[in-house]
Assembly symmetry: C2
Homo-oligomer: 325 residues x 2
DNA sequence: CTGAAAGCGCTAACAG
DNA sequence: CTGTTAGCGCTTTCAG
C-alpha cells in the first residue's frame, strides 16, 4: 500500500505539501493540486488513519460493550448507537461480553490499547473493571460510580404507566410478575407499579421470575405461570416473559381471552412485542433516544465538557392487542 | 497518557529494553524486569496499539457491514461473528448500512483508512463499491464477484426440506409465499422447494411478497394473505412473514387450526420463531456455523492463504408447533 | 505557496 | 543482556 512519501515523490512536491492538500490545512497552488490529485488517484492512495491518530491523539472510534445481541433490548440499542455515532463521525467497536468476566477484562484492555476515544457500557455486572479507567465512559442501565454518567429509561414511571393503563382497562384483580431484583431497571419497574398501587389503594398480587426463566420450555412455564388466568390484569416485567405468559395461556386454550378477560402489559417495546400473536401492549424504552443520548453524553465527555451524572429517558405506553383499551 | 519513553527513563533503561520486556521478544534480566514492571504499574502505562500497527501493518480489527440490526438474522449473525472474531484475537467494527448507499461508501472509506485487516459484508445491495478494494473481503449471502469468497446457508436444500416436511405432515394443497427475487438466498429457497415439487409431481400454488410487506399493518396483511386458509400446507420464505401469516389467521379466528388443519413452515430459525405463539416450524440457518466460517475464511484470506470461492452451510429442519409432525 | 526537519509511540536490525 | 539508530506514515512548526 502506498504512502504519502510515494505520493510526494511522484507528484514532484514535498511530503508537507501533500499533507496540506489532503487536509486542506493551507492553500496549495492550483497546478500542484492537480498533479497531486492525479497521483493519488493513480496510486489508489488512502491516508493512514493510524499514523494520523498517533499524532492527533484521537481515533474517532468508540467501544460498545454489551452483554449479548440475542436480547432485542441490546440489538435495538446497538442499532441506535451505531446510527448516531456514525452521524457524529465515530466508528463503533462492538464487544459482546456474554457473561464472561475474563472476556470483559480483555475487551477493556484491547479498547484502551487501541486508544478508543470513549466507551459505552451497557448493564455490566463488573463495575470494578471500570473504576480506574482514565477514559470517557458512559454507563447504560447499571451504575458504575458517581463519576461515570449513568443513563437509563424511566423505568419507575414506566411501572406507573403500566398500572394506570390496567386500571383504565377496568382491571380489578391485578397480578405482577417481578423480575430479578439485582437489576436496577427491573427493580424500578416494580417500584413504580407498587408506588402507584399504594397511592391508589389497589392491592397487587406478585410472583417472582428470574433471568433464567426466559428460555424455559412450555412445561416449565406451566409451573411458573400457574393460575395467572385467575387475574384480569397482568403486568410482566419484560416483553420476552410476556411472550412466555401468552404461550402459557394459549396452551391452556385461553388464547381468545387475551385482551378481553385477561389484560397483559409487558415492558421494553421489543420487536417481538409488535410481531407477537397477539401483539403486546407494552411500555416503550425509546431506544432511539437512548442511543442518541448516550452518544451525545459520551462526545461531550470526550470534548472535556461537564455532563449531568444521571440522565433519565422518558418511557411511553404503546397500546396493542393484549389489552382492552 | 504515558509512553514507552517515559517508562524507559523512569526505569533507567533504554526504550528497546522496555519494548523487549513488553513483547517478550528477547530475554531481559530479572532485576530490570522488576524495575520496568513497577514503573509500568505506577504509570498505568498501556502500550499504544496504533503505533504498533503502523509498524506491523496489521490492526487485528475487521469491519462488519450489515444492512440492519433489527432483523434477527443480522443480529444473530453479528453475535456469532463477534464471538469467533474475539476468540481469534480480532475486534469487530460494527457498521450498519440501513439502505443508505452514501453511508455504505463512507463506511468503506473509513475502514480502509483505519487499515482494518479485512471486511465481512452481508447482503450488500451495492457490490460495485467492493469491486476494486485491495483488502481481504468475505461476502455473506450476496455475491460480489468471482474473486471474493461467498458464504451462504444452503437455502436450496432448505427449500427441499420444507416441502419434504409438509409432505410428511400429509399436506395435499400446498401454497408457497415467495419473497423478493432480487435476493439470491430467497430465490434459492423457492427453487429448492419447486425442484422437489417437480421431481415428486406435486403441484404448488404460489404468491409473491416483497421486503416492504414485512412491516405491514393487519389490514394490509388481510389483503396479502387472503384465502391462505384454503391450503393445508404453507411455506413462507422467512420467519417474519410466517409471523405475519399467523397473525392474519388468528385475526380470522383460525388460531386453533394452525398446526392442525393448516401447517406452516418458515425459514431462518429467527429468535421470534421459537417465541412466537404458536412456535414456528422452520428451517435453521445455523448462525453459529455461518459466523465461525465467515471468520475463518476471512482470517485465511488475511494470512494469504487460498480459500474456496463458495461455501455453503447446511440447513436443518426445526420442528415446532405450526406443523403436525 | 512550499520544503526541511523534528517528532508522535513504537519496533527491529546492529553492534557491543 | 542492553543501547544506538533508523524507520513505520503522518503532522506541524519554522524558514524561506
Amino acid at each position: 500500500m502506498s504512502n504519502i512519501r510515494k505520493v510526494a515523490k511522484l507528484s514532484g512536491v514535498s511530503i508537507s505539501t501533500v499533507s496540506r492538500y489532503i487536509n486542506k490545512t493551507a492553500n496549495v497552488k492550483e497546478s500542484t493540486k492537480i498533479k497531486i490529485e492525479k497521483v493519488i488517484y493513480d496510486l489508489n492512495y488512502v491516508p493512514n488513519a493510524l499514523a494520523r491518530s498517533i499524532f492527533s491523539k484521537t481515533t474517532f472510534q468508540i467501544g460498545l460493550i454489551i452483554p449479548t445481541l440475542s436480547n432485542p433490548f441490546f440489538s435495538e440499542i446497538s442499532f441506535a448507537i451505531e446510527n448516531f455515532a456514525s452521524i457524529k463521525g465515530y466508528s463503533v467497536i462492538l464487544n459482546i461480553v456474554n457473561d464472561d468476566k475474563e472476556k470483559e477484562k480483555k475487551i477493556i484492555k484491547t479498547l484502551i490499547e487501541s486508544r478508543v476515544d470513549g466507551i459505552i457500557v451497557a448493564r455490566t455486572k463488573h463495575k470494578e473493571l471500570y473504576e480506574n479507567l482514565d477514559i470517557p465512559i458512559v454507563a447504560l442501565e447499571n451504575k458504575i460510580n458517581d463519576k461515570i454518567p449513568l443513563l437509563y429509561a424511566d423505568n419507575w414511571n414506566g411501572g406507573r404507566l403500566a398500572l394506570e393503563h390496567l386500571v383504565t382497562c377496568g382491571c380489578e384483580k391485578i397480578l405482577m410478575f417481578v423480575g430479578d431484583n439485582k437489576h436496577l431497571p427491573i427493580r424500578l419497574r416494580k417500584n413504580g407499579f407498587m408506588d402507584l398501587a399504594r397511592e391508589s389503594n389497589i392491592s397487587i398480587a406478585t410472583r417472582q421470575l428470574f433471568d433464567e426463566d426466559e428460555n424455559k420450555s412450555i412445561t416449565e412455564l406451566k409451573f411458573l405461570f400457574s393460575d395467572a388466568e385467575l387475574y384480569d390484569g397482568i403486568f410482566v416485567y419484560n416483553d420476552i416473559m410476556a411472550v412466555n405468559l401468552i404461550r402459557y395461556l394459549s396452551a391452556k386454550n385461553l388464547f381468545n381471552e387475551i385482551g378481553k378477560k385477561i389484560n397483559i402489559i409487558g415492558f421494553d417495546n421489543a420487536i417481538i412485542s409488535r410481531h407477537m400473536n397477539p401483539t403486546i401492549t407494552t411500555i416503550s424504552q425509546n431506544f432511539d433516544v437512548l442511543g442518541k443520548k448516550s452518544i451525545s453524553l459520551l462526545i461531550n465527555l470526550i470534548n472535556g465538557e461537564c455532563v449531568q451524572p444521571i440522565s433519565i429517558i422518558k418511557t411511553t405506553l404503546i397500546k396493542r392487542e393484549t389489552t382492552k383499551n
